[in-house]
Each structure stands twice: as C-alpha cells, then as structure tokens.
C-alpha cells in the first residue's frame, strides 16, 4: 500500500465513521455540540448552584477550556484503542496495515473536535474573551495534542489487541487523568512553584490543558521548549508503534481473529 493510498483510506474511513455516528442517534451530529454543552451545564449546576462557590465566569471558562481539550484526548484514545478488535470481521478478511483502524478513529475525532473548538470560542466570546495574537500559539499546541493522541491511541490499539484487559486499564487510566490533570483544580494553585513544575513535567496532558488556559484566558504563550519535548517524544512513540504494528501485522491479525 502506498502512502497516498494509506492516507486516502484513513480519510474515507473516517468520513464513513462520522456518517455512522450521525446516523446512529436521533439527534445525529448535534451530539458533537450537545455533549460538550452538557458538560458546561453540569459544571454550572455543580460549582455555581450546588456548591455555591461563587467562582464566577472565570471558573466556568477555566473548566470549559480544560474539559473540552480533555474530552478530545480521552474519547479518542479509548475509541482508537478498541478500534482494531472492533473491526475483527474486516481484519480477518483483508490485509491492510493495522494502524489504519486507530488512525481512522483519530481522524474522525479530529473532524468532530474541530466543531467542539468552534463551540469553545463561542463560549469564550459569551464570557467576554475574544481572540488575541497569542491565540496563534494554539496551532502548535493543538498539533502536539494531536501527536499525543496518535501516539497513545496507537499504543493502546496495539496493547488491546495483544491483551484485551488493557481496554479496562485504558478506561480507568482516563478516569485517573480526569482527576489528576488539573481540569477541576488549577495546577498553578497547588502551594508551591516546584510542585507545579513537577506536575507539569510528569503529566504531559496537564501541561497541554494548562497551555490551553494560558493562551485562551491569559494571552500568555506556553513554555515552547516543554511543548517541543512533548512533540518529539510523541513523534518517537508514533514511529515506534508504526514499526511494531508493521513488524507484527500478522500476529495482531491472529490475536484479533482468535
């Protein structure tokens, strides 16, 4: 399979997955917006009405920025991780690179997420936050997020093929990350600067979510070197996973079929 055939296949498969998503539910593609909006509604009810924390609009924006970016990462990784085993029928019938399945899921998610980010900008405007020149930093930040998702998605897909239990571990892992990545609490408000830097260093996702908020809420550029390191690390993992999937192509097919 040539490189152009590979990407063409991923793109068409991703578009078909979008159609399936839209056709499965009565509200169709509206769910792409409804689901993140419901999260915003839940945050308002919990933090402003039930807890009466009076944290105001800033905290709503804080939660929304982190949560929308996290949803992209967690949902995509879970979907990509299960994509090869979910395509058991096709895996047993046609020989194509196994990475096509997770990459299609990731591409489909990218299309959906682009509408979610548009919604995010609308919500920010509602709270009086408008685009600034520093928002251009979102381009490298989103690109590195994408690389992270591809890296973790490919690794998850490989592991789940070999041992199905990893599907459970990955779902639990996403829940763990939900609470430890500074979505509901500010990673810069943990008591000391050392602790903040430590948390940002060991959890790349926390860094990425914080980068979103730094750019969108504070018009501040993220730490470029740190961003580059995460990008390079993700790229190395992507290269490794693609090599592994190519090397063990038949083994993965056997594990899925049997």
């Amino acid at each position: 399979m040539t490189v152009s055939q590979y990407f063409r296949l991923i793109n068409i498969h991703a578009r078909m997955l979008l159609k399936v998503d839209a056709n499965t539910f009565k509200l169709g593609f509206l769910w792409w917006f409804l689901e993140p909006l419901m999260w915003v509604g839940v945050f308002y009810v919990v933090f402003n009405l039930i807890l009466d924390s009076r944290k105001g609009g800033d905290f709503m924006v804080f939660l929304t920025c982190g949560k929308f970016a996290f949803i992209w990462f967690s949902k995509t990784v879970i979907q990509a991780s299960g994509s090869i085993v979910a395509s058991k029928g096709l895996v047993g019938k046609i020989n194509i690179p196994k990475s096509v399945w997770p990459m299609s899921a990731i591409q489909e998610s990218l299309y959906r997420q682009s509408s979610v980010y548009l919604l995010l900008f609308v919500i920010l405007a509602f709270f009086g936050i408008y685009p600034d020149i520093t928002w251009l930093w979102l381009v490298p930040v989103l690109f590195v997020m994408y690389l992270m998702i591809v890296a973790v998605g490919l690794a998850g897909a490989y592991l789940v093929c070999v041992v199905r239990d990893f599907q459970k571990f990955i779902t639990l892992g996403m829940t763990f990350l939900l609470f430890t990545s500074g979505i509901f609490w500010d990673v810069r408000d943990v008591g000391s600067e050392e602790k903040t830097q430590f948390l940002l260093a060991i959890n790349p996702l926390a860094f990425m979510l914080d980068a979103h908020r730094q750019i969108l809420m504070h018009d501040t550029a993220p730490a470029a070197l740190h961003l580059l390191l995460i990008g390079v690390g993700a790229s190395i993992l992507i290269g490794l996973m693609l090599l592994l999937m190519r090397r063990y192509n038949h083994y993965l097919a056997l594990k899925v079929i049997t």
Binding site: Q5, R8, I12, H13, N23, T24, L90, I96, H250, A253
Partner: protein, 246 residues
C-alpha cells in the same frame, strides 16, 4: 504462482482444550497453485479451509513453514459482507468496500452504479444495511467482492448464499472470471460448483491434506469419508441408547 511448503498454524486457546491449549489449525500442509488454474479446497467445517485462504491472502502468517509467492503477485480474499456497517447505506458500504480493496475514490464512485444494478437492490441501495434481509446483504457482499481485480482470487463460499435466481446470476459472473486467465482458489461446500469450476481439488481434513487431484476422484473420497463417519456416529448413538435403556 504460489506455494505452501510444510505450513502449520497454531494458536493458543483456552487451557484444557485441544492440545494442552494449543489449537493446531493447519498441520504440515504443502501444495502448489499454478497460474490460470482454479484450485478447489473442500472439507468439513473447522478443518482449516478459511485459514489456508487467509495465509494465501497474507492476512495471517504460518507458525511454521514457508509461503512462496511469485514476485509482484497480488491476492485478495473474497468473502461476503466485507465489514458492512449496519448504519451506513448500501451505497456507502459499497464505496468503503471498494476503497478497502484498493480502489481510488474516483474508481469506487464509478463502480457504484454497476454494483447497484448487478445487486438488484434498487432503492434499498440508499437505505441502511441494517434494514436489509440476509439475502440482500449477500447480494451486496457478492457484488462488491466481484469488483476486485487481482492476480490470485481466493473465494470463500461467496456462492453459497442468496436466492436461487441471484445464485445463478452470481455463478455465471464468477464463471466468467474464473474461466478467463484468472488464478483462483475456490472454497465451497457445493460438489457441483467445485466439479464445474475447478481444475484440481484439495481435501482438507483436521488441518492436513487428506487427498488432492482431479475433482471427481477427490470429491468421491471426501463423500465416502462422510458416509463412513455418519455410519460410525449412528452406531455410537445406538450403543449409547442401548446402554441407557439397560
């Protein structure tokens, strides 16, 4: 065109099953596939026919043994329902199937009307596949499979389903492909199809080759073994019934 040399395939199943948890799907299978010939593979369910096709299609690799393929030769496994998504229409599924089998988007779009006509699905072609009957699915599956053009066609019982009228049409279409310069490996449970279409037949039994040669002889040997097995099963059943009554 293609040769399997002492090919075996095992996989690890649940402990306590098969051979200490190892299922020997294929055991020391060797045969050659010559250019332009139609080779039939027959055998009971679960003997390794589909696994053999998957190895030839490069979907699976053998645990032991070698596969030698002529340089540059392409092979494709034709089997029904190439991963149909129930929530997509017949048209979208056909499009996806064509692209998965190597067609460009433009080529795939070009095939769509041809697929719609041949499959006789009419307006249902635009409806989700989840609304289709099994016969309609098999018609769509067969028609999309027919669009593949490769050096070696590996056919896994695609002519086994569908209503009588479509079956006849499908057989004729497949016959035209097979009788040309196409190299084919054909798996079927239909003796008449195998005898009509195949130049040579292999009988697989419990993962090994029990016989190979001209279709009439091998099919006769295969049928005789089924009759022998059936008589043995009946006797065993009668003995068990007698023991229970006693």
């Amino acid at each position: 065109m293609l040769e399997l040399k002492h090919v075996s395939l095992d996989y690890h199943s649940s402990k306590g099953t098969f051979d200490h948890g190892v299922h020997h799907v294929l055991n020391d299978v060797s045969f050659k596939l010559y250019e332009n010939e139609t080779l039939g593979i027959i055998g009971r369910n679960g003997v390794g026919k589909t696994t053999s096709l998957r190895i030839m299609a490069d979907i699976l690799a053998p645990t032991r043994g070698d596969i030698i393929t002529r340089r540059g030769a392409t092979a494709s496994l034709l089997t029904l329902g190439l991963g149909f998504r129930p929530d997509l229409s017949g048209r979208d599924n056909a499009m996806l199937s064509a692209v998965l089998q190597g067609a460009s988007e433009r080529e795939a779009i070009g095939f769509l009307e041809e697929i719609k006509d041949f499959s006789e699905l009419g307006d249902s072609f635009e409806e989700p596949v989840k609304t289709y009957s099994s016969g309609m699915r098999s018609r769509l599956g067969f028609t999309t499979a027919l669009m593949t053009h490769v050096d070696i066609l590996l056919i896994d019982e695609v002519l086994s389903v569908g209503d009588a009228q479509f079956k006849a049409k499908a057989e004729q279409a497949m016959k035209e492909r097979i009788c040309g310069e196409q190299t084919v490996v054909f798996v079927s449970h239909s003796d008449s199809q195998v005898q009509n279409l195949c130049d040579r037949v292999i009988w697989l039994d419990k993962g090994s080759i029990a016989a190979q040669g001209d279709p009439e002889t091998v099919i006769a040997q295969y049928r005789e073994s089924i009759r022998t097995q059936t008589r043995a099963n009946k006797k065993r059943l009668a003995d068990v019934s007698t023991d229970l009554k006693a």
